[in-house]
């Protein structure tokens, strides 16, 4: 096809072949100049090679230090455990607060905290989380994720319950997930998380220094009791574990007074064997 009425494709090709760029300076002149300047430079060349080597070594060292400190930050962890009969308060690096109930332990990576707010917890604790990125609490029976809120987790043995006080909380166990709004409460039944109703006083009674039980199995009540007062309770007749206890008492009263209140309900007797051991009859 002709691009121009006066010229064929073939002519066009030969036309372009005969076109030249008009350069003022011939190639030879330029080579002479280049040859002069490159002859001047042999020493300089060596030093740049030498520098390059040092830069490589320095980069490798910095990289190693970087990797080393990063993995230290990633791996180093803090463990905190509260003993029987004591509460422990702990403040996380971002200012979030955790109140650990008796016999509870948490573990987290303090230097990795700014990258990922994640911790392991067994027992029962109340969290007051500063606003920020995802905050995740893992336990054997489930994990709870929040952004910034306050909530209570109970994770002992096979039990896992979460109470949300403010904000929004996501709780998950294997494939089951629940989103909690303030006042919501969820507990693990079998392999499913189910929502249930509870009053705030009940959910975080321990934090308020109170024992509140609403048709709770007696063995659980005694477990709690042992943890809170740091005592041992022995039961002669294990049938009473089938009983359910409903009642409330203050943490301030002594172990004996409290035990008496519980025993009175069921018409049981207790006997003090040593300072820290009681037997129920």
């Amino acid at each position: 096809m002709n691009k121009n009425p006066n010229i064929s494709d073939e002519d066009e090709f030969s036309f372009f072949e005969n076109l030249k760029v008009p350069h003022n300076r011939p190639k030879e002149d330029i080579w002479e100049e280049l040859a002069k300047s490159i002859d001047k430079e042999p020493q300089q060349k060596k030093s740049t090679v030498f520098q390059l080597k040092w830069i490589k070594v320095a980069a490798a060292v910095i990289l190693l230090i970087g990797i080393g400190s990063l993995s230290f930050m990633r791996i180093y962890s803090i463990d905190i455990t509260s003993q029987k009969g004591e509460f422990t308060e702990h403040i996380l690096p971002d200012g979030s607060q955790i109140l650990l109930n008796a016999e509870t332990s948490i573990s987290y990576h303090p230097y990795w905290w700014s990258f990922s707010r994640e911790l392991e917890m067994e027992g029962e604790a109340f969290f007051e989380v500063k606003k920020g990125n995802k905050f995740q609490v893992n336990s054997a029976n489930g994990s709870t994720q929040v952004l910034g809120t306050s909530f209570n987790i109970y994770a002992r043995n096979d039990e896992y319950t979460v109470y949300c006080r403010t904000g929004k909380v996501r709780v998950s166990h294997v494939n089951s997930t629940q989103i909690l709004k303030p006042g919501d409460y969820t507990l693990l039944i079998g392999n499913e998380l189910e929502k249930s109703i509870i009053t705030e006083d009940e959910a975080i009674s321990w934090k308020l220094g109170k024992f509140i039980y609403n048709t709770t199995a007696l063995d659980k009540v005694f477990d709690d009791f042992e943890r809170q007062y740091g005592v041992n309770i022995k039961v002669k007749n294990s049938d009473i574990y089938n009983l359910n206890y409903t009642g409330m008492f203050d943490r301030n009263i002594s172990a004996e007074e409290a035990l008496e209140m519980i025993c009175l309900t069921f018409d049981l007797d207790y006997e003090k064997i040593s300072n820290f051991t009681y037997v129920i009859q």
Partner: protein, 162 residues
Amino acid sequence: MTKKEFKICFESWFDNVRNYIYYRCGDSDLATDITQDAYLKLWEKDFEYHPNKTKGLIYKIARELWISGHRKSSKFQKTELSLHYVDNSIQPSEQLEYKELKCTYEKILAELPENQREVFLMNRMEQLSYKEIAERLELSVKAIEKRMSLALAFLRKEINHE
């Protein structure tokens, strides 16, 4: 890179690189300076010599010198090409015709986008194949074909329009 290898680089590609920069800027003296600087840089940085890699490299150094140092200046907002027609064996009347044709092409090529112009002129004036152009510009053959067809479409349209 040894001095001998550097000499080979210079002999094999200097003209092509200089023309390449000329296609982009339309200023012969500047193209010469840039290409000379590019060769000096190639020597100073002491890259290892691999025929094919070094070829792409010298084009790249020259291109970057052009882009970073000069292209933005107001002088080059509009490209002006001025080429020479060098065949004297043809009839005087044809010569006149070719001269007109040359002026037409100079005008239209100046309006072509830089990256299409460079490919078109490398192909037509230096008879480099698409593959050779692709190697020099470190692009795929497909990209060269694309630019070429865009350039041809543009030229066809403009020349028929004249």
